[in-house]
Symmetry: C6
């Protein structure tokens, strides 16, 4: 086990997703009608993995972009670039998705700047059109194109919010952390650890999620548990792995870190 | 029913609009005199569809743009773009409308930056002129050109407001959600569902609109009801469709979502 | 009456302006000495029309620009633009006016950014010079050039104010809504309606202007009354025209709209 | 008297300035040593005219620029501009003054952006050097170059202030409105009116300047009085000229305007 | 000892790092799995040196960049630059690291602008991909590539914080100042001073770190102690070296400087 | 004495600096080790002159830049400029210093924008490297290169502060106004006045510095006293010179100016 990063293998196998409600049915119905989907849920609960699984089931390409404060519509649609003495148009990721009939997934949409509205609205409603002003044209979405956006309701604020007129164009799916059995299966598989390690990690994760009066902004996510598992797979002890991938990530406050450490010692006593 | 998106069919048929007041008469009188129109109304009540219907009745092309915080006059008027060794002028959507005598619809005008004022004022008043500074010229609007803008009075704020000197150049039309019979017809037709489904959705929509002391920023719009219908048409149960297209869209607050769900169960008891 | 917009006819006839004080005398004295003029007055009272009339009387061309928040000196003076393999200088509207000896009218000057100061100051005082930094030159104003700016004192604020050092370079003229007889004549002529309709509109306008403890930010302007008349000329009833061009424009508040509607019913009882 | 603007004549005759303290001596001493000068004084008191007179006495060219919020060092130093297929460097006004040994007068320096510091500091102190980064060079000021800046202490604020480290590089001269006899001579000469008219205007100006508990932000400046005189020379009555060039310029508040009008009537009773 | 700066020698010898916990084990486990690492710790405690040591042990190139408020994703990924008549793409430091399989260390990540998110997220998680939008391509990280970021929890604020969704992608390692024996060894070696000088400096450093109710924003860091040692190696007395490299750096407040000076005199009495 | 500015002579003679503490020893020790230096002290106390003297003693070139709010790393490092059909790289002043082994002095560093961090950090610590991203290269500092920055602790604020992680990379030297005897010598020499004039100016300067409960933001600096001396050398009386170079520069408040004038009259009674 001294290969560098499990990237290659991970990506050749189909994404692993276990449904926990009717989210798959809703996604399929929306896909049949070409309706845009908004996925709500906490950080690291598996939103990206769900979209990857849906794209795989539907046999469509998936193009993913993470929203950020400086993202403008040109980042999505494309721009002219100088190459030698010529300017060449380079499609942005949304335009590529529209042309190819791919699923376009804009993660953390509330981070993007408001001028993305101008491209999201007409492509999200019955028009299914992408205006490409710089080319002076409007593209009709190829069959199969579907717009998916996500955000974390816990991060909503007055300044960063999805405009109501944007939000109302979407069908919403709410995700949460999966039930323990499912999450254990996910952690074992993604982190390349045996089921006992995964079970211990999920037990710990749930203990942290159910803390009363928690001082944490976020709880332990499935993603964190997979990272902890990965450190174990990389040769670290379970206790050290949890400290680095969960405890130190959840807080910078020495008191909180100490309290979390004690909780970890209680939940993972004999290891 | 496994086609991907109903876009193509929808757009070949004439837009479906049922008048609910004298809005059609006002629009026609304004159109006869070339006067600009301001449409006020809540999100998703059918402002865009009304403009589409008017354009169809008048036999004029419709060019629609959604306003956004970064929109400047150049986004409306056009700009020079480098192509190969040459620069080519590309008309913006407003300039295209002015040349062709089309109806130009600027949705959510209060989002646009103030420098759009410089193009809106002279094209909106008796001058009917569009200054195109970059070309060093001024275009006279072709016969048939009409400027239409819209905004949602509920979103007005000190920071984002229509300047009085802009507003006073327009004739105002106020729209609201249509009466139940009309809305049912709209939902059935647009979502491709039978009249019983549409009726149930509209009954639910009105129940939500008339909640006392509602904690919601927005109520259930016609657009949401059409999306819910679309999910039903896509194979989902009515209850799940309402959950995804209405309840989860209206709020992120678990208590509010639960209360809305109970209201839905009461209004749609036997399905 | 199915022509599209009265633009063409309106502009071939001379601008219609009725003096209400010594504003014409002041303008002529300033014009004789080349002194810059500042016009103060509420939105829609006829500031633009006054300037148009003065330009016509003096036989000079009029170039009008509306100030806005993003307006910089380059928008007034001009810029280099790429055309093919060459860059071409394109005069801005102020530079054109300076070269041709035209009247340059900058509407809503307080909206423009402060860097316009650098061009307004030397062209407004005894120097009558326009520095064109990008060309590395300074233009002397042709005979006949006159700078006119306007603003609405009601919009003044700490953030948007005419700098004292700018303001003191100008001769000020204050305009207000014209007396009823004059305004009636203006409305009838501009809206293409008979004198009875115009009289009813002006009577209504003055009733709104003299409301005690008015909740309105603006009162009914001459411009609004002309728009209402235009809707009547376009085939709408007087009551509907007033509702669309005056009542719905003055407020978004349902209570205020209702109260205004009752006032309209009282003032226009038998129509 | 139907010429358009007195610009041409005004500039061929030497600037008219009457000293009121030792400002001329200080300026000459500074000029002998090449020391930079800061002129402080209210708007319209004659700062620009003083500098014009000094430049004339010293036989040096004067280059004047008005500071503004968007002014950067490039506006002072110069920039490359595209012309055809070539880029050409165009000296900014400060660079021209440095090369020619001219007096460079930066009016309202506190309006300029802080990056002007980088060029003002080395040219203002013993180095007398202008770094021209874009050319990768540093220019030594030609003999005769002198930097003069001005500001109005009444406008100082926390946000717009001269940095102490800049201010301490200058010799300061404070100007104020001139004594009545001098000011009368200035007004008569600059406005082209007889001495009685000028005397009446100066009497009025001083009456306004000495109002107790004045609600005015600014008082009547010499510049205003010259403008009023210019209107009289243009054919207007003295009372109307004062109303337009002084009263309406000093305030937008109807009560203040009325009170000022009564003061004017009292001071200019029999005209 | 009159060479200019010890740079050349320092860099040919391997970085000197003494582990103080299991930070080396965690880093190695993360490196084996290609997992990204977040290093937390106070300014000057040796974060950079730790990463240098890890890169050396793993035999990988290290590319280091300091985050700053204006850093955008283009600063990390690269941009097109004009050279002669051609535009040439220049890889940014992150892209170079991705291509070469180097360790990329982004110091003070919270300073960078949020649009860096778009490149950090996909390269940090299982995808190990760097989207290079300007080239219209996505690079897969070469084996050996590892992303390391650091920040100082003491500087966290509402405005400058690591987004939770970013933070959860990392394994965290917390560093602090090393124990006295280790720190003495580090200071002696890095500053080129004998062990007694180093011991005195570390004793002083710890005295300052353990002040009760300290008014200091920061305490004396290992970096400061090395700088003080360097001044001694450069010929300065120990007391003067401490004054310049520690006391005057820790505060600008004369009272605090005096108190620190007294503490120094007490700790270093006989020198 | 009618030459224009003493610039040429001043610069051919070696800079005049009288040590007042161990600042010279500290600077030399830092120079021997290539350590970066931070100079703290009030405006006009001689920081620049100290650096000039050190550069002269060490026989190194000095390149000085004044920090400002809009300064970015490109202003320090360099940029590509279009010249004719080609783009040419132009080194910024820091890059020139790094290549030539010069002392680079960045005055008022806290004014610069934070992205300068990215170039200051690696050049300031043991790496002694300047990343030149636009060239895709990293320069090693030539022997003799030394980074010197300065700031005025009295101007520190929450918004404009030296980041701790930057500050800790420097050795700090605190300067203040020199003792009277030294300052008299400096003033006499720099202003070209005899020792009695210089003595009177320094006596006055110290009287102002020691005012109780002073309302002044700054006190009289050595620079101001030199400017006052320069005016005397230019032919002005001592009293007038002090008024222009000290009193009017220290305040805009008429009461403060009057009180300072009385102090001046008391200190300089018989002149």
């Amino acid at each position: 086990m001294n290969n560098v990063g499990p990237a290659a293998e991970t990506r050749s196998r189909p994404p692993f997703y276990r449904p926990t409600g009717d989210e798959v049915k809703v996604f399929h119905a929306a896909a049949r009608r070409g309706l845009p989907v908004l996925i709500k849920g906490p950080t690291g609960c598996g939103k990206t993995r769900f979209v990857e699984a849906m794209a795989h089931e539907l046999g469509r390409e998936l193009i993913t972009v993470a929203g950020h404060e400086d993202m403008t519509s040109a980042d999505l649609v494309g721009r002219f670039l100088l190459k030698g003495a010529e300017t060449v148009w380079v499609d942005g990721p949304l335009t590529r998705a529209v042309r190819q009939g791919a699923i376009f997934y804009l993660d953390e949409v509330v981070e993007a700047r408001q001028d993305t509205t101008v491209v999201i609205h007409p492509i999200a409603d019955h028009r299914r059109e992408l205006p490409v002003d710089r080319l002076g044209t409007t593209l009709s979405a190829a069959p199969g194109f579907q717009l998916v956006i996500s955000y974390n309701p816990g991060y909503q604020s007055v300044l960063k919010n999805l405009k109501e007129s944007t939000r109302q164009r979407f069908v919403a799916i709410t995700l949460d952390f999966p039930p323990a059995v499912t999450e254990t299966e996910v952690v074992a598989r993604e982190a390349d650890v045996d089921i006992e390690i995964a079970d211990a990690l999920v037990t710990l994760g749930n203990a942290i999620r159910h803390l009363d009066a928690s001082p944490l902004r976020e709880v332990s996510s499935t993603r964190m548990l997979i990272l902890a598992g990965g450190l174990v797979a990389g040769g670290l002890s379970l206790r050290s792995a949890v400290q680095s991938a969960v405890v130190e990530v959840l807080s910078d406050d020495p008191d909180v870190i100490r309290a979390l450490g004690e909780l970890v010692d209680a939940v993972l006593p004999t290891r």
